[in-house]
Symmetry: C2
Subunit: 295 residues, 2 copies
Amino acid sequence: LLDYLAANISPKKSQIFLQSEIPAIAELCFLFSMFIPLPHILRNPTIKKEIKDKKLGESYPMGFLLYPVGQIADILAFKADIVPVGEDQMPHLELTREIARKFNQLYCGVDPHLHDTEHLRAGGVFPIPELKLGRVKRLVGIHGPNANGQLLKMSKSLNNAIYLSDNADTVRAKVMQMYTDPCRLKVTDPGKIEDNPLWIFHNAFNTDLKWVEEAQDKYRSGKISDVECKKKLIEVLNNFLDPIRKRREEYASDLSIINEVLKAGTIKANEIAEDTLRIVKEKIHQDFFRRRLTF
Amino acid sequence: LLDYLAANISPKKSQIFLQSEIPAIAELCFLFSMFIPLPHILRNPTIKKEIKDKKLGESYPMGFLLYPVGQIADILAFKADIVPVGEDQMPHLELTREIARKFNQLYCGVDPHLHDTEHLRAGGVFPIPELKLGRVKRLVGIHGPNANGQLLKMSKSLNNAIYLSDNADTVRAKVMQMYTDPCRLKVTDPGKIEDNPLWIFHNAFNTDLKWVEEAQDKYRSGKISDVECKKKLIEVLNNFLDPIRKRREEYASDLSIINEVLKAGTIKANEIAEDTLRIVKEKIHQDFFRRRLTF
């Protein structure tokens, strides 16, 4: 939560809430699971990849397969029309769109082939949510590729991430040990820009495009050292993180604010999710008693 | 609900509620699914049988696998110590006992090898529920065996049931067409008692044990007709159903009572389930905000 606030996500514009405190999400998850053929979950590339990467075999908990269904409920409970995610979440969003279309078709009589933007006007409960990818679709970690030669995304569990909460020295140390072009042994060796975290990071964060272009040319022809480019990146990242660190410190000095933000967000999120659940229950003719949830 | 009340389940002693109106059940279901290895669900004989009988192949909804998990939540939300079920529900109860033990072990430090009755005293949240089978563990339907030679249990979806709401003429018609011993073509043929719905029903409902014993002897030696035994069964069943039919009529004359019973039961059930969820969240350290659910 400190990360969110420090990164300037404003609680005035954005409700930040605890998923586990929104009962309607669990109820929608239970309901939506009735609409999803099991193979659509098992075929989900992100689920398949996780099972493979984490060597789960067939011994994972039932709840692991519920994860994408929970995500559908997370999105549809708030009738989101735009969902900002990383590239790896695309299959989950595709499932969400499938369920929104199916619900609108089965219970609101909406033609499933209608254009996304026409579903609400045609009487559907759910908008068909659209994916919003950032300029950087997925940020790589600071380590080298895995056994299959692939660079892995930044991830807490892989311990290959630079955190918004890292101080300047930690960022320096992490960048200095960052994986670059393994074939480049001395400055005069020509360097590779592609699949090189050093340059992926420069392209993501360095706003001095002229410097980046010139430095990449020099790197390719063996005229600039890794260390010089890393030092520049440390400067860029610390400039980027400094205002975040400052806001973080302010928020951290009074954690009661954090708690208030979370509580207000959870109350507001419940209002919306309870309303969605009420409409869903009406549509499926399971609207028996009106309830009220208070905190 | 009319069936329950007509069968003399008293709302004064028993809370009758709508499962879909108990959000804590959906939340506990979501949570418990994290404790259940997927193979324990897929190996569940009742689930396997349903997939086979209904020819679902691999194209069943995700929610189908959630059914036994929902049942665990149904039971544990109310900390049931005794669960009266039919024989076919035994595997589900076994899963429930497994999850209750695991939760008590992981979050309350209870030795999982403790005797069932010792779990609460040792600080567990959940009692380890015990199965309560009736004298008749599972009632067969009125039709003959399936392709595998097995008599199927009475089931609405198989349309082989006698209903508590059937009138005397319907019961007569259903018993007259009831499957008996297919090898017995005339009265003097010796009849088979075993796997014969006619006698399974007499044994379940006929309190005149002397008549049953004598009639079975005659049936075995070809001295009593199917029709005579069926007529007796019709009398027995209608005597059994008459007071049920009378109470049903009384309740059906004022359906507002039904609605009140259901609402009062749902409110009471929510009080208990919300309390269980609150304690569970405390134990797993996810107790953030106190909520109140009103109707």
